[in-house]
């Protein structure tokens, strides 16, 4: 018996199955998307019209919608998420840490349709009657805070998404922060650093690559989130000129139209949208990896001289 060999073969088999599945998945997507790409050409990427009845299909509105909702979500979620993670890892008393951590992880287990329902039935009215009027008043109603206040739209979708990505962000960030070597932290304290200085100059720089990784994972979730976004974004095929305006994302249009796509090229176009979404996700992932590498390369930990 050669345990090491068996171990290697077993692992290789599992890895190969996974790689093959991924390959089969991507291949079948591309094959099904081909008619649409062939028919609409490059215009499919730059077209803003989505009219299955008359056969004008372009995906740009959805690409922009996906990027916008993701960006809003991350702008809200990253400061809150990192702050919460820091608090959980270093600031809060020990007997609060455990229940709060568990609460955050429980949030991750809530099905996204529940977030969507909650967003549509509870948050949307609050956004319509409180948040949107307040923002409009604060900014004088200029874009991007103008237009009809309906509750559902870009802002609400971003808000709901930010809540949905928080558990991922907090849980991973907390683990990364906790993993910072104790010697470093205690050394800094020993040198007379305040708690704030320790967090800013030792803990966060040390964990920077990991925190970026957590943000990337959360971004991936925001890009692909489907049902909750579909329920609160308003599903209008037009660019949102205001945060209050409805629009659509790549995932939402697929979820909406997939089951009943019987017009010519409609189904193929929806699969083509999925291919673009996959492309965007890969792009984000690769960018994040490059960022992590560059950050890791010039990672400097210390109190600094200044």
């Amino acid at each position: 018996m050669v345990p090491d060999g068996a171990y290697r073969v077993g692992l290789a088999t599992v890895a190969a199955v996974f790689a093959l599945l991924l390959l089969a998945f991507v291949t079948s997507l591309v094959v099904q998307a081909r008619p649409a790409f062939a028919h609409f050409g490059f215009g499919f990427l730059t077209g803003t019209k989505w009219d299955p009845v008359h056969g004008h299909l372009g995906a740009l509105t959805f690409v922009v919608g996906t990027l916008e909702t993701t960006m809003i979500a991350m702008v809200i979620a990253v400061p809150i998420g990192l702050g919460t993670a820091l608090a959980l890892a270093y600031a809060l008393p020990r007997r609060l840490q455990a229940p709060l951590s568990m609460g955050v992880e429980l949030l991750a287990a809530v099905p996204s349709v529940v977030y969507g329902l909650w967003g549509l039935l509870v948050v949307a009215p609050a956004v319509r009657t409180v948040l949107e009027p307040a923002l409009a008043k604060l900014t004088g109603g200029h874009e991007p805070f103008g237009g009809i206040q309906e509750g559902i739209g870009l802002l609400l979708a971003g808000l709901i998404l930010s809540i949905m990505v928080l558990p991922t962000l907090v849980a991973i960030s907390r683990d990364v922060l906790i993993a910072v070597p104790h010697e470093q932290v205690e050394g800094a304290y020993a040198l007379g650093a305040t708690r704030w200085q320790v967090l800013r100059r030792v803990v966060v720089p040390h964990a920077r690559a990991g925190l970026l990784g957590a943000t990337t994972l959360a971004t991936g979730r925001a890009l692909g989130e489907t049902i909750a976004v579909t329920m609160v974004i308003g599903n209008t095929v037009s660019f949102a000129h205001s945060l209050f305006a409805p629009t659509a994302t790549m995932a939402s249009v697929i979820a909406n139209e997939f089951t009943e796509a019987t017009e010519p090229f409609h189904l193929s176009a929806l699969v083509a949208v999925a291919v673009i979404l996959l492309g965007v996700a890969i792009l984000v992932n690769v960018t994040a990896r490059l960022l992590v590498r560059s950050v890791g390369g010039r990672q400097r930990v210390g109190l600094g001289v200044a």
């Binding site: 345990p3 088999t13 299955p52 549509l120 309906e150 559902i152 329920m231 979820a255 139209e257 089951t259």
Partner: protein
């Protein structure tokens, strides 16, 4: 790792050779579970009832179930009716159990074209292009259910009986009538105080037969709609916001004042929504009801899969936003037993089974449409292409 495991007794060693098949099997099972749970499937086999395949307890849930069990797939609109009706049929004739997967009309047509189900169901008949892709011969289309679409609204101060004409409705959805106190709405509702508020328009964002019937109606009554957005299950909307499903549209209307949206009749009736009276072709304002849809449908006795639209029919009591849903079957059945079961269940569904429709707020098919269904089913033959499978008593 190697050194460490060598020190352990053999039984404690993690043997990948033993674990790998288990891991693979688990993985395969997960994939199978995912693919079958993605469609909501409903079986009509009553638990514990002595039905067809007692030997295999999973047969009823299997899309490739043995003879005696029929499989269908398609329209979500038909699903509540089918579930109840096929269950009732199984009580009458325990030899036939029908397993219907409500995966959407588009999916139903695709499954039917590939001949992986015994019948498909679609809210809109298959087009010539769809039929040309069918892989098992001549296609027959049978009307199986009748439904309507209501205009539901949330207008503080107007709790009931808002009146709308076809032209005004089209203009609201075209975005040219923008406020509730627009002169055109006022003139239809004398004595009603209409607020000077923008109209929030909501539509179904998911592709649906409900949208098809509604846009079919708008295209029928408004030239601007016909030449503009047109008719379809997913269209390019000139105004408003989209919500997913009847429940999404209904939820948005409920939460948002000054909103109007269209909701399928059965759903609106069961949830007692505030609905608008629509002016029909005879000039009368008619509240949505089963009787109104039935009156509209009875005005067009000669429905075919090509000429199937029944919106805006004449008649003083007709409710004008109505439409049929269709079952799809192949004319030539590969086996006599399955084919016989299929025509038997569909014939029952379009006749005696229509009683089940009424209890679920579907409109029973008019007599002439029931006759049409039977005539169509009488064309279904066995493998020899000659033997008619349907026996009518």
């Amino acid at each position: 790792m190697n050194a460490a495991s060598a020190e352990l007794p053999p039984s404690a060693r993690l043997s990948w050779r033993r674990l790998a098949p288990v891991a693979l099997a688990t993985f395969g099972f997960l994939i199978a579970a995912c693919s079958s749970s993605s469609s909501s499937s409903s079986s009509t086999t009553a638990p514990g009832s002595p039905t067809t395949q007692p030997a295999d307890p999973y047969a009823a849930a299997d899309l490739k179930a043995p003879a005696g069990a029929l499989t269908g797939a398609g329209s979500t609109f038909d699903q509540p009716f089918f579930t109840k009706a096929f269950y009732a049929f199984n009580q009458v004739d325990s030899g036939v159990a029908v397993n219907y997967a409500s995966i959407g009309s588009g999916g139903g047509i695709a499954q039917f074209q590939a001949n992986t189900v015994n019948f498909g169901a679609s809210d809109v008949p298959m087009s010539a292009l769809d039929i040309s892709k069918a892989t098992a011969g001549q296609v027959l289309q049978v009307p199986v259910a009748l439904g309507g679409v209501t205009l539901s609204y949330n207008l503080p101060g107007v709790s009931t009986g808002l009146k709308l004409s076809a032209a005004v409705l089209a203009n609201i959805y075209l975005g040219t009538v923008k406020t509730w106190n627009d002169a055109s709405i006022k003139s239809l509702n004398p004595g009603v105080t209409l607020p000077s508020q923008p109209i929030n328009v909501v539509y179904r964002s998911d592709g649906s037969g409900t949208t098809y019937i509604f846009t079919d109606y708008l295209a029928n009554v408004s030239p601007a709609w016909k030449s503009g957005p047109g008719t379809g299950k997913s269209i390019s909307w000139p105004a408003g916001v989209g919500e997913k499903g009847n429940e999404g549209v209904a939820g948005f209307i409920k939460q948002t004042p000054y909103t109007i949206g269209y909701v399928e009749l059965a759903y609106a009736m069961q949830n007692t929504f505030t609905t608008a009276d629509i002016q029909n072709a005879a000039g009368q304002f008619v509240a949505p009801s089963l009787a109104g849809v039935a009156a509209d449908a009875s005005q067009k006795p000669n429905v075919t899969p090509v000429d199937f639209s029944i919106v805006n029919e004449p008649g003083a009591t007709s409710y004008p936003i109505s439409g049929y849903s269709w079952a799809l079957v192949y004319q030539l059945q590969k086996t006599t037993t399955t084919g016989t079961s299929l025509v038997k269940v569909l014939d029952w569904l379009t006749h005696a089974g229509q009683q089940q429709a009424q209890t679920l707020d579907y409109v029973p098919l008019p007599q002439n449409i029931q006759d049409l269904a039977r005539q169509t089913l009488l064309q279904v033959t066995g493998p020899d292409g000659k033997t008619v499978l349907l026996t009518t008593s």
